[in-house]
Amino acid sequence: MGISTRKSRLQRENTRNGLFFAAPAIIGIAGFTVYPVFALLYYSFCRYSGLKPPQWIGLGNYKLLVHDQIFIESIYNTVYYTAIAVPLGIVVALSLAILLNAKVKGMAVFRTIFYVPSIVPVVAGAVLWVWLLNPDYGLINLTIDWFGGLSQKLGLPGFSGPGWLSSVEWSKPALILMSTWGVGASVVIYLAGLQDVPQELYEAASLDGASGWRKTWHVTLPFMSPYIFFTAVMGIIGGFQYFTQAWVMTGGTGGPVNSTMMFSMYLFRNAFQLFKMGYACAMAWLLFLVILGATLLLFKTSARYVYYGGR
């Protein structure tokens, strides 16, 4: 009897302490997650400017979305960007990591050079890349034009750099090119992962006469699949939220001709520039479903192609 009351008193004390310590998160979740999610759902069915109280319009916002040309274009742009930038980033980062893992001298220096671009403040990076991508005097086109001239001298067809951010066709590739410069964090993750690949497997493969390429394909990749999977999921989630670079580089216009108007930019424009907050909430709801769906799908199908080292 005495023991059990003492025990229950201890339990009560623990619960009280636990709640006390967890209080910041409980308040935070209530105020900054639970309430906003319900408000989001409600606003998405309303006409809401943020100034006057919301006005119920049922599915009105969703009906408008279906016919909104810029909205559809923004989805296309976002999918285009993500579908190329994420796989390209994985291939580049993995190649760099495999090169670095070849026990080279000065590995730390190389690793730093590949990593540092990824920590450059986003806006500073965007400003720098606007200048690098300048069609006439930017470093990238100067380099391309130089090779173009060289090729002409050799009797081959000459070529010159595209208009990048001023061209409808090349503005998205420009953003993708810039994103490839920032793959450093993935390189570090892959490099850590490569340490887990058992060396005996490489030796066994060599004895069987496997080439370097085949060893990469049959030994390295299966072991790296959890890391690749992780960076892919994070990349897709990040891709759908891609905002700052494109916003800064186009001065918030998403130009030329909406060719860089990303989903998040259009959401922001509707919410905070056009004050169609209800409309923006309908968009946000869709963003949430897409991200949730992508994440779940990737996790569900992961068992088929991800090798977790026999676990």
Binding site: P24, I29, F32, Y43, V188, F268
Partner: protein
């Protein structure tokens, strides 16, 4: 450790290794070139910026780009604002996330695992999804055009860092906290005197990444700050870019000033950085 032992071994020079070095040198040159371009442009006189072929070493060095760039828009003020927001965020996240993580790992109580799951699931909800309703919350509170919407949420815990710290706290031997308890320490004393001092590496990671995030953040300040005297460096630089986009010398000078502190921070905390990425990247 592993690296040192490998380095000690002598390796024959094979065509493979030469190719590896060649590839690494070419690729790192490509990755490094934008930085040289940034620095070179930042000290170029306007007349030497748009010339073909490019002049990598300007004659003379135009250091004025820095002083005029930084006064053209009040960047020192923006730097101050950014530092206020950054340090408040670091303090807030360190304090609240460690407190919550303690409640979710050291104290045994019913409901803590449920709460932990709820906290984890909030990570699935990106900021942009809830930014409109959050804006209305902060409007209601009258916090628009103040630093509060950018600071206060950090005092209410960050799901990811709570997760990280909880995993770390779980690895602290239970005997240690139990012994302190028998000696009559309160939970808060155990948190303050035992758990926090033992968790310095994890706390350093949290502080570093919070600082970086706040320094980089553009969307938050863009939504909440309107008065130009309250701008952060990110907002200020973007405004500079959109209004005076052709002043490349000054733009690059200011971009350098925004970038250099982060790179210096990286070199001083490299180990924490690399650990942080692998920790945050893999242990999830």
């Amino acid at each position: 450790m592993a690296v040192a032992s490998r380095r000690a071994r002598w390796r024959p020079i094979t065509p493979d290794r030469i190719a590896t070095y060649a590839a690494l040198i070419v690729l790192s040159a490509i990755f490094f070139m934008p930085f040289l371009w940034l620095l070179s442009t930042s000290v170029k006189p306007a007349a030497q910026i748009m010339v073909i072929p490019p002049q990598w070493i300007p004659k003379p060095f135009q250091w004025d780009n820095y002083s005029s760039g930084l006064t053209f828009v009040p960047f020192l003020l923006y730097l101050k604002n950014t530092l206020i927001i950054c340090s408040a965020n670091v303090v807030g996240v360190l304090f609240s996330s460690s407190l919550v993580a303690y409640g979710l790992s050291i104290i045994p109580w019913r409901g803590r695992d449920v709460l932990f799951l709820i906290i984890l699931s909030t990570m699935m909800l990106p900021y942009q999804v809830v930014m409109v309703p959050l804006f209305t919350v902060f409007t209601f509170l009258g916090w628009i055009d103040t630093f509060l919407p950018l600071i206060v949420p950090s005092f209410l815990g960050n799901a990811f860092f709570i997760f990280l710290l909880r995993q770390f706290f779980m690895s602290i031997p239970k005997d240690l906290t139990d012994a302190a308890k028998i000696d009559g320490c309160s939970e808060f004393q155990i948190y303050r005197r035992i758990v926090l001092p033992l968790s310095k590496p994890a706390l350093a990671t949290v502080a570093l990444f919070t600082f970086m995030y706040a320094w980089n953040d553009y969307l938050g300040p863009l939504i909440y700050l309107f008065d130009q005297s309250k701008f952060t460096v990110s907002l200020g630089l973007a405004m500079f870019q959109s209004q005076y986009g052709s002043y490349y010398g000054m733009l690059m000078a200011v971009s350098t000033v925004v970038t250099v502190p982060i790179i210096i921070l990286f070199f001083f905390t490299q180990r924490t950085f690399i650990q942080g990425i692998t920790l945050t990247g893999i242990k999830q």
